[in-house]
Subunit: 139 residues, 2 copies
DNA sequence: TACAACAATGCAACTTTGTTGCAAAATATT
DNA sequence: AATATTTTGCAACAAAGTTGCATTGTTGTA
C-alpha cells in the first residue's frame, strides 16, 4: 500500500513528502471520511496544523479527496474514486453521517438522483447527505 | 408583518424580545437563507454576537428555522414552513446555493427524493444541497 | 552524487468563529 | 406594581482558520 500511496501522489503531480504520505495513508486506513480535527489527532502532532490545512486543500484541488457538507460547521473529507481529476470532481454518491458514532460514510453503491430544478437554475454539483443510525450502531 | 412576527414568537412560546423580533423579521425580509455572519451584518451591530448565536439556536430548537449544510464550513439558516414544530422538522425540500451570488434558496417546490440505503443504515434526516447558477445570475 | 531551482513545511502572529459563566436588564406572571 | 423568570451583554476563553516568511525538503539536471 505504501507504494500505492506514492504512486497516487505522483500521478497527480505532487511532490512526495512525509506529510502527504502520512495524511493520504490515513484516509486509506480509516476508510471513512475525516474532519480536519480527526486528522490532527490521528497524525499525533507529527505535523503542524497549517500543513494539514494546506495538504487537505491541495488534495481537494487535485481531485484526490472530496468534501462532504455537514450541518454542524465541520466539513469532512473522503477519498475520491478514480474518476476525479484536478478541476472536475465526480463524487455523485450519497453520504451518511451517523448521529451515534459520528462516522461519515461514502455510500458508493447509492448514487445521487437527478432532480429537476425550476427555470433558470443550473446545477453544477449535488450533495445528498443523510444522517441517522449506521449499520454498526443499529442494534 | 410586525404583528405577524410577534405572533410567531408567541405561538412557539418564546418571550418577545427586540433581538428575536429583529432577527426573525430579517428572515422574512430577505426571503433567502442566511449564515450567522449575514445576520450579524444586517442587524448592524444592534446585538451582541452571542445573542445572535443563542437566538438562532433557540429558533432551530423551536422549529422556526432550519439549518442548511454547506461544504464551506458556514451553516445557513432559513425559515421553516408551518409544519415544523419544536422537536420535529419537516423541511424535506431541496436547497440551492448559487456559486455566483452566494444566495442560498429553499426550493420548496422540489422535495427530497427517498433513497434506499444499504442494510442497517437508518435515515433520520436527508439533506439535498445543489450548487450552481441561480436564475438571477443565469444570463 | 552534488548542485541549483523550486516547493513544502514550521513557526509566529493574527483573524474569525464559536462557547461559557455571570451580573444586569428586560420580559412575563401574579 | 412587585416578583419570578428569561434574556441579554460583557468578558474571558477556546477552537478554527489564515498569512507571511525563513528554513527545510524535494526534484530534476549536471
Ligand atoms: Mn464520498
Ligand atoms: Mn429550506
Ligand atoms: Zn454509527
Ligand atoms: Zn446567483
Amino acid at each position: 500500500m505504501q507504494a500505492n500511496i506514492t504512486e497516487i501522489l505522483r500521478k497527480h503531480q505532487l511532490s512526495i513528502t512525509e506529510a502527504r504520505k502520512k495524511i493520504l495513508s490515513l484516509f486509506w486506513e480509516t476508510g471513512n471520511a475525516m474532519a480536519h480535527g480527526d486528522i490532527e489527532q490521528k497524525s499525533s502532532a507529527d505535523f503542524d496544523r497549517v500543513t494539514i490545512y494546506r495538504t487537505l486543500q491541495t488534495f481537494v484541488e487535485k481531485g484526490i479527496i472530496h468534501t462532504i457538507p455537514t450541518a454542524d460547521n465541520s466539513v469532512r473529507y473522503a477519498l475520491c474514486k478514480d474518476e476525479c481529476a484536478a478541476g472536475h470532481h465526480h463524487d455523485d454518491h450519497v453520504h451518511f453521517i451517523c448521529d451515534d458514532c459520528g462516522i461519515t460514510y461514502c455510500i458508493d453503491e447509492v448514487s445521487v438522483p437527478k432532480v429537476k430544478l425550476p427555470k433558470g437554475f443550473k446545477a453544477a454539483q449535488t450533495d445528498l447527505v443523510i444522517s441517522g443510525t449506521c449499520n454498526k450502531c443499529d442494534l
